[in-house]
Assembly symmetry: none
Homo-oligomer: 248 residues x 2
DNA sequence: ATGACGATTATGTATATACATATTGAAACG
DNA sequence: CGTTTCAATATGTATATACATAATCGTCAT
């Protein structure tokens, strides 16, 4: 055994200790085990836990701080930071989180629920070739008393049969699906449009006021799962997305 | 004089040696003094130059490698990386490609070019803390004879000095930058708004017609590079983006 | 020529140590 | 009781050192 323990094995992969500390802590934070505000162990505790030098721990923590996951305070320790707006592109569409980030009470209200055999239009939206049962939902997301977004959704019941048993009266279909169907791919279409009468009415804005429309199609293992259209009044909403370049 | 030379002075600001090495090298790369492919000095040369330990140099270079500015090869040295190809989402904003995909002739026309000391608003948009020179550009992208998008751009000349020498009369700043500055991060803000008179006039649409606004901030190795705002008439444009879930 | 092999070199990761710096909490003081 | 001072503490930055690892180059035998 060499004096310097350079590598470690984890899941068959050889990674450096520094990498392991990094991913351990990242996992705790992203999984929610260490909530925002939580004080993560002191450097000397991690040093003991991983049986390594403080420099190694320090390097990992500095990196996490730089990445914005934690905040370090002298004499006090290191703390999990409040969730940043850098939320992944898809998480932006968990409207509850958006609304609550504004400090407003969130509420979902179903407007319509219809189980039907897919029309040609439904199939076009979902990207289905053969007809089959779908669930058409329409609902409103509220921020306080104001309508925040209108949601029009199609769920492919051939892919998610369980959805047929759900009423979606006051739970939004988005989070329900996320918790049950692992998605493998999503396509977003984002555009601006003037509100028509139906939309203006639902969102309580002027007809022909500008709206942001976000449509998303989601696949699970190449099976179309759902198509959803969110309509936001222009004033209320900005999408934010952060990217790092893919490897050249 | 203490044994450990912890800090250094640069422009009145106290920064660590590590930070100074980092920004020195970053400056060389972003200014173009060290072109892509150029071999930057070996660690032991930088160690001699800055009169510090190899660990300090190593930490700075590792960070630059992580940020994607340089590539390190054992036994060979460290090299300035080629500017990376754009991720899918960003390619959507190469307007020439979009227009040509429609089968229409593309043309860019500069409306305004202004070199100035950054205003408070400029700094807010770019995410700069200290004042410095910026280049403000406004231009129109045409599809055939029709205006396709209005572009309002700020370039941080401290990061991209060479841009000051460019007129951008009929070459769009976007592609110009992409070819010269490797970016490491980008943030998009997407929203809808009603056209004001300036926009309506430039795009030749009705005042208060809905528009899609895409704003992008780009960083290179954590240095703000540019802020750009694209304004599209609602009818002409839909953004499309595809995603696969990111690793936890 | 050519291919195997070992030396050399530059980076990669870790160690132990030292001192700096900001912040907190408690003790000393007016 | 409030304020000032000071020691303790956790992080921040730098050092010198050690060994690992990958790539390259020259040497030498085939």
């Amino acid at each position: 055994m060499s004096l310097v323990e350079t590598v470690d094995i984890e899941g068959g992969e050889i990674i450096s200790l520094h990498q392991r500390i990094l991913s351990d802590i990242r996992e705790k934070i992203l999984s929610g085990a260490w909530a925002p505000g939580h004080r993560i162990p002191f450097e000397h505790e991690l040093t003991a836990h991983y049986n390594c030098s403080r420099m190694t721990v320090n390097k990992a923590l500095s990196q996490l701080a730089k990445a914005g996951l934690i905040e370090r305070r002298r004499r006090s320790g290191s703390f999990v930071r409040q969730p940043q707006s850098q939320a992944a592109v898809l998480e932006l569409h968990d409207i509850r989180i958006e609304v609550e980030a504004l400090g407003l009470p969130y509420r979902y209200e179903r407007l319509e629920r219809l189980r039907r055999r897919s029309s040609a239009e439904d199939r076009a939206l979902l990207g289905l070739s053969a007809p089959g049962p779908v669930l058409a939902l329409e609902g409103l997301h509220f921020a306080g008393e104001r309508p925040f977004a209108l949601e029009q959704r199609l769920i492919n019941l051939s892919a998610v049969a369980k959805a047929a048993e759900e009423e979606f009266l006051d739970i939004a279909p988005g989070p329900w699906l996320i918790g049950r169907v692992p998605w493998s791919e999503a396509e977003h279409r984002i555009r601006a449009m003037a509100a028509d009468d139906t939309i203006a009415d639902a969102l309580d804005i002027d007809a022909s006021a500008p709206c942001l429309v976000v449509e998303r199609r989601t696949w699970s293992a190449e099976h179309p799962v759902t198509h959803v259209r969110f309509v936001y009044p222009a004033e209320s909403h900005t999408l934010v997305a952060r990217f790092t370049p893919s490897q050249g």
